[in-house]
Amino acid sequence: MKLHRIAAVFLRYFYIYRRSGTRLLETVYWPLLDLVLWGFVTVYLSRHAEGLPQFVAFLLGALILWDILFRAQQGISVSFLEDVWARNFLNIFVSPLTTGEYLMALMLSSLLKILIAGAVLTLMAWLLFSFNIFLIGVSLLPFLLLLVVLGWAIGLVTTAIILRFGQQAEVLAWGIALLFQPVSAVFYPVSVLPPFLQAVARFMPAAHVFEGMRAVISTGAFPKRALLAALALDVVYLAGALLFFFWMFRVVKRKGLLARVGE
């Protein structure tokens, strides 16, 4: 891997975001809207359902973490689409850049998006609802990283599908992560799911992350088991996503579709 090539692709995304107010706004607009909406719902419910412990922390914490996963996925698939939309894809792939270097640059650009969105959400949650995610403690950090990795895995699969089926599959870049949301137990514990969905949730890294988050908030103890389960599943998901991406990339080159995506 050559760092200067990864830096070049990252620089290209940085220039786009620095110049494009729309892109920057889009990175924070939807998460902020969600935050305000759910924030008020939380305030209302916590006033009328005093029996529910840590309601604000549960919901707003889940919202911020879910957005991190969503941004991580979009950071991969939408950044890739930026090259397709600009008809710049071929210019990049006829350079010495390797596929691995390209993916690394996409991951870095997704980290940039996460940092921007995460910082704005954290600040606004504190200002509007006096919710300080840092009070939960550093225990949350490994869970956060696991969500980023899961977001990358989903982003890689989405990108591979767009490569294969062209721009008609673009809609996946915005919707695919939502497919995992019901079984990821983002806003409710796994125990509320029907038994067959609970079985599915066991194989979802995000479900272990959100269960872990709730454990950290309610007991303050570090849920080692949830972390290990999420870590093991994340490794499997990321390895599977990489294998799928590289396989699809070979198929696309064999079918002559790479050039068609780029023109």
Partner: protein
């Protein structure tokens, strides 16, 4: 100083290249080579296989069979090393719209690991008459300005081999003429090898040292523009092209090999 008849190094060597898309054979056993400092034109009607060949030479499409060697290295094994000294420009690609001219060149200079990037970029901006508009975003450029930017990107790494896919298709005659002259000048100055597709037959005659005439994925004829014209008993490449496109001339592989 090498003599006039000094043997020039082969930089691109293509052997028995085949590409099948399902039942369609887009490229059918094509073999050719490009020497150092040579401009070779790929000529043929739509669907002849020109662009597919260029895409295979750049690693965008995997050949069904056959071999591509560039600088004596096997492309399939040494892709990154080879592409470090190769570049490409096409009418069908663009630079990122929201980047300025200068930023686009900075990104690609970094991608190719160019040393003395800012100086190199200044030189290219001057050569392609882009200095005045260096801070303009690509989305606001005219077609001619975009083509010049694409060409300057294609030269940012001082390539030894350049692949051009209809580089002057969207240019007015004045800019197209200036572009052709510039390419010839760069070829003379740096010994650059160029493989080039165009539907402009006069351009092919003017620019190419050698022409490869393709039809339905096969190499029909190969030689200097004059030799190819003779092999088709035509007064111009356009005439030869029309004969092939309208099915009046079957031609024959190697009809005019120098």
């Amino acid at each position: 100083m090498p003599g006039r008849n000094a043997v020039k190094k082969t930089v691109v060597e293509v052997s028995s290249l085949v590409k099948d898309f399902k039942k369609l054979r887009a490229v059918d056993g094509v073999s050719f080579s490009v020497s150092e400092g040579e401009i070779v034109g790929l000529l043929g009607p739509n669907g002849a296989g020109k662009t597919t060949i260029i895409h295979m030479l750049l690693g965008l499409t995997t050949p069904t069979s056959g071999r591509v060697r560039i600088f004596g290295l096997d492309f399939a094994r040494r892709r990154s090393r080879i592409l470090q000294e190769v570049n490409f420009s096409s009418t069908y690609t663009d630079m990122p719209y929201s980047l300025t001219v200068q930023e686009s060149l900075r990104v690609f200079a970094r991608l190719y690991g160019v040393r003395g990037r800012e100086e190199k970029i200044r030189g290219l901006l001057e050569t392609f008459d882009l200095t005045e508009i260096r801070r303009k975003q690509v989305r606001h450029l005219s077609t001619g300005q975009r083509t010049r930017l694409n060409l300057s990107k294609a030269l940012v790494n001082d390539p030894r081999v350049l692949f051009l896919d209809e580089p002057t298709a969207s240019l007015d005659p004045d800019i197209a003429d200036r572009t052709r002259k510039l390419l010839k000048r760069i070829k003379e100055e740096r010994g650059l090898s160029i493989l080039y597709t165009s539907h402009n037959m006069r351009e092919m005659e003017e620019v190419s040292d050698r022409v490869l005439f393709l039809h339905k994925g096969r190499l029909l004829a190969e030689g200097t523009p004059a030799e190819v014209m003779r092999s088709f008993r035509s007064r111009s490449l356009e005439d030869a092209f029309l004969k092939v496109a309208r099915g009046k001339e079957a031609g024959g592989k190697g009809a005019a090999r120098p």
